[in-house]
């Protein structure tokens, strides 16, 4: 994924998470956000449908 996000889109996403970050802050963060989203997109490409997610961490 090489999508470029404009600041208003990032501001909206941050607001959904409860943060009112300024355009200036988000501009500084944008390269790191885009790198993180590229990394996360690799998870979307994996065939994980039938895999039960780890939830109990093997507690005995």
């Amino acid at each position: 994924m090489n999508e470029v996000f404009d600041i208003e889109t990032l501001r909206g996403a941050a607001r959904v998470s409860g943060f009112g970050w300024t355009a200036e802050e988000l501009q500084t963060l944008r390269p790191a956000i885009e790198a993180a989203l590229r990394l996360l997109a690799t998870l979307d490409a994996l065939p994980l449908g039938a895999v039960e997610p780890t939830t109990q961490y093997r507690i005995l």
């Binding site: 943060f19 963060l29 990394l39 996360l40 690799t42 998870l43 994980l48 961490y57 507690i59």
Partner: protein, 472 residues
């Protein structure tokens, strides 16, 4: 007093104290003197508990004279990463936000160590809120790697002060915590032994979290035998930690037979060995040969699913860390180190679906490691793919190409945070520049005994763990 005493092992110190060959007061005073002499440069400690440690040492001495030793660590000083709660002593997590936080009670493992007779020397430096592997800290200054203080190299983190203090003889042993490698990375870069136990083996109650499902706590020592001794005291069920295991705690010291004849060792190729710099790779391959010469059966194995660990680990850690920090991030954003604040802010852009996919990858990785360990007793890999970078270094070159330093440091350790398997970092060489090289031994869940047996056996046939930095 012997000049070797600052570097005596915990097991030797405990024995000497029990036999009254050395007094707890002498041992504590010696370490306080070394801290006074060297910590201005090395910066291992955030808080030194000099008066309390001396008081505890006097009490320990009196108890010994009265024939009432407290336990296997009677009179032995230790130091704690500054995210372990200590009653009456500030616990800052290396942050400005918690600079004045003074807990009312000890963390469970701190209480257990004190009950076993250990004396707390002080609280150790760390990366703010344990969120970073380099060992840097904007609030309290970066600790210096004692192997190269002159040119200012990274100690590794986030348990930076723990690595520095143990390597430099400013504490015989320390506790660290490990969410992506924060025990094993500073152990590797500082040339000491660091054990990340199985998830659930040691209570996290009273230890400030970074990411609950990835956080592990464990000992950082100069020998595997010392880690065995500390783990025996620290481990065991704790109702205050929901992830705590009810499995009984074995006698880890008794498991250290020195015998690895027939032990099946899987040398991790691919992602692990091929990413290492040539001298790290050569040192780990040499370590495999040393184990083979001692009777182990070594073969090679790959873990292809670990290629997805970076994304999975990021999704999980960023989400859990943000959940913990949301309040302060809203009310006190300027009190964070800007780099740590940025890492936390990025968590706001991870979706719930990404978090679950991260957990799915963790299941795949866990199953793959379990399968590799079904036919082997331990796995062997570099702990870090390179030696300690300079403090200002941001890019490096690994065996498979250029890499961001932060990503490189954490690359080989975090698969076992995702899976929860026990892993022990052990010194296995020195680079051409005289910097420590570390390997890690990984075992089956709750089989720390075999991991420590292999590490101890390796240390019986090599002397890398006995090398010391020359302090200015």
């Amino acid at each position: 007093m012997s000049t070797d005493l600052p570097f005596a092992s915990v097991t030797d110190l405990a024995r000497m104290i029990a036999r009254k060959e050395v007094s707890p007061v002498e041992v504590v005073r010696l370490h306080l003197e070394r801290i006074a002499a060297h910590d201005g440069t090395l910066r291992a400690y955030i808080t030194v508990c000099a008066d309390a440690a001396l008081d505890a040492a006097r009490t320990a001495e009196a108890a010994l004279v009265a024939g009432r030793p407290a336990g296997p660590l009677h009179g032995v000083p230790i130091a704690l990463k500054d995210l372990y709660d200590t009653a009456g002593v500030a616990t800052t997590a290396g942050s400005k936000i918690l600079a004045d936080r003074v807990p009312e009670a000890d963390a469970t493992v701190v209480r257990r160590l004190r009950e076993a007779g250990a004396i707390v020397l002080g609280k150790l430096h760390m990366v703010e809120f344990a969120y970073g592997p380099e060992g840097l800290n904007a609030h309290y200054g970066a600790p210096r790697n004692p192997w190269d203080a002159a040119v200012e190299r990274m100690p590794g983190g986030s348990s930076s002060g723990s690595g520095v203090a143990v390597a430099a003889g400013l504490a015989p042993a320390a506790l660290g915590s490990d969410t992506g490698g924060s025990i094993r990375i500073p152990a590797s870069l500082c040339g000491i032994t660091g054990l990340k136990p199985t998830y659930g083996r040691v209570s996290r109650a009273g230890v400030l979290p970074l990411a609950w499902s990835m956080d592990h706590v464990g000992p950082m020592t100069r020998t595997a035998a010392d880690s065995a001794l500390l783990l025996r005291v620290m481990a065991g069920y704790d109702p205050a930690d929901a992830s705590s295991s009810v499995l009984p705690v074995p006698d880890y010291l008794a498991a250290l037979s020195g015998d690895v004849k027939g032990l099946r060792v899987g040398l991790l190729r691919g992602f692990f060995l091929e990413s290492a710099t040539p001298e790290v790779r050569a040192a780990v391959e040499h370590a495999a040969k040393a184990l083979e010469s001692a009777g182990a059966i070594v073969d090679e194995v790959a873990l292809p699913a670990v290629a997805h660990v970076a994304a999975a680990s990021y999704a999980v850690v960023a989400s859990e860390a943000l959940a913990y920090h949301t309040g302060w991030l809203k009310t006190r954003p300027d009190d964070y180190d800007p780099e740590v604040r940025k890492r936390l802010q990025l968590g706001a852009f991870v979706t719930g679906a990404h978090y679950v996919r991260g957990q799915q990858v963790r299941a795949l990785v866990r199953d793959e490691i379990d399968a590799a360990l079904a036919r082997r007793d331990v796995l062997l890999a570099p702990a870090t793919p390179m030696t300690a970078p300079r403090l200002d270094e941001r890019q490096t070159t690994l065996g498979d190409g250029p890499s961001d330093v932060r990503a490189a440091l954490i690359r080989l350790t975090r698969p076992f945070n995702c899976s929860g398997h026990p892993a022990c970092a052990v010194p296995c060489g020195l680079s051409a520049q005289g910097l420590p090289i570390g390997m890690q031994l990984v075992g089956r869940p709750f089989d720390e005994a075999t991991v420590l047996r292999a590490a101890d056996a390796y240390q019986r046939v090599t002397d890398w763990h006995t090398r010391r930095p020359v302090l200015a």
